[in-house]
C-alpha cells in the first residue's frame, strides 16, 4: 500500500492519501507513517483519504481506532474522507461509522 502525506501548515492539517488494501500486513505501515507525522504540541487535523482503498479488514479498522485515540490524546482530530463503497460497508457492519468522522 502506498501512503502519501500532504501537509497544510497554514491550516494545521495533514492528509494521508492511501492507495491499496488496508489489512493486517499494511496496518503497521499506516501506524508508523501517521505516528511519525503527529504534531505533539499543536492542535492539528489528520485526514485519512480512502478514495483509493478497495479493501479494509478488522486489523485495518483496529488501527484506525488506535490512531484516533492517539490523535485525541494529542488534542487532535481524525477524519476519514471519501471511503469507497466496499470500505463504507465494513464501517457500517461494525458500526464504526458512528465512531469516526466520515465525509
Amino acid at each position: 500500500m502506498k501512503i502519501e502525506c500532504q501537509t497544510d501548515n497554514a491550516n494545521h492539517r495533514k492528509t494521508f492519501v492511501l492507495d491499496g488494501e488496508l489489512d493486517v500486513h499494511q496496518a503497521k505501515t499506516l501506524k508508523a507513517t501517521v505516528m511519525e507525522a503527529l504534531e505533539p504540541d499543536d492542535v492539528w487535523t489528520y485526514v485519512i483519504d480512502m478514495a483509493r482503498v478497495g479493501y479494509i479488514d478488522s486489523s485495518g479498522l483496529g488501527m484506525l481506532v488506535y490512531l484516533k485515540k492517539e490523535i485525541l490524546r494529542n488534542q487532535g482530530r481524525l477524519m476519514i474522507e471519501k471511503p469507497t463503497d466496499a470500505v463504507l460497508n465494513v464501517f457500517r457492519l461494525t458500526k464504526l461509522n458512528e465512531f469516526f468522522e466520515l465525509s
Binding site: D23, H25, Y55, S58, S59, L61, T94
Partner: protein, 163 residues
C-alpha cells in the same frame, strides 16, 4: 481435459457435485499471503453470479479468518502452515480454514462491545455477520481446528447476520 481446450470455470462448477473441493491450499503464517488469498477468491468468483458486494463480503470473511490464524494461533510464526479450501457449487460457496491451535475454545471468543470501541476483537463478529453459516469444530487429540464458512448463493435477499 485432453483435446477440448480449457473448460469454462462456470461449466466446471455447474458440473461439480455439491461440496466438491475445487481448491485446496496450504499457506504460510506470513501475513503477506492474505492478499494472495483475496486474489484467489476473485479468480474463483469470476464466472459465478456473486456480484461485487458479495465477493467483497466473502473476501473480508476469509481474510478475517486467516488473519485470526496468523495473529492469534500462530503469533506471526511464518514457519507454520494452515489450510484453506474452497468448495463451490451454484448454490453455495464454502470456505474451510484448517489449522492447529491446541488451546482454542470457540466458546471463549468474546463478543465485541460496539458501544465501547477497542482496537481488536472485531474479526469473528464480522465473519458471523457476513456468512450464512459459521461453524468452528475442534479435534482435541490433534489440536486441529476447522472453521467452516458458508455463503448461500441463490438467495438474493439479505441473509447474513443470523449467527
Amino acid at each position: 481435459m485432453p483435446g477440448s481446450g480449457e473448460p469454462d470455470v462456470k461449466h466446471v462448477i455447474a458440473a461439480a457435485p455439491d461440496k466438491t473441493t475445487l481448491v485446496d491450499l496450504e499457506l504460510s503464517g506470513n501475513p503477506r499471503c492474505l492478499a494472495l488469498v483475496r486474489r484467489l477468491l476473485e479468480a474463483s468468483a469470476h464466472s459465478l453470479p456473486l456480484g461485487q458486494t458479495l465477493l467483497n463480503d466473502i473476501k473480508i470473511a476469509v481474510t478475517e479468518a486467516c488473519t485470526n490464524v496468523i495473529k492469534h494461533a500462530f503469533k506471526y510464526d511464518a514457519s507454520r502452515r494452515f489450510g484453506v479450501s474452497l468448495r463451490i457449487s451454484p448454490a453455495r460457496y464454502q470456505i474451510n480454514v484448517v489449522y492447529e491451535d491446541a488451546g482454542f475454545d470457540p466458546a471463549a471468543i468474546p463478543l465485541p462491545d460496539l458501544n465501547n470501541v477497542r482496537e481488536g476483537g472485531l474479526g469473528v463478529y464480522i465473519i458471523r455477520n457476513i456468512m450464512d453459516d459459521v461453524v468452528y469444530s475442534t479435534d482435541p487429540p490433534t489440536g486441529t481446528v476447522t472453521l467452516s464458512m458458508v455463503k448461500l448463493l441463490k438467495t438474493t435477499s439479505a441473509t447474513g447476520g443470523q449467527m
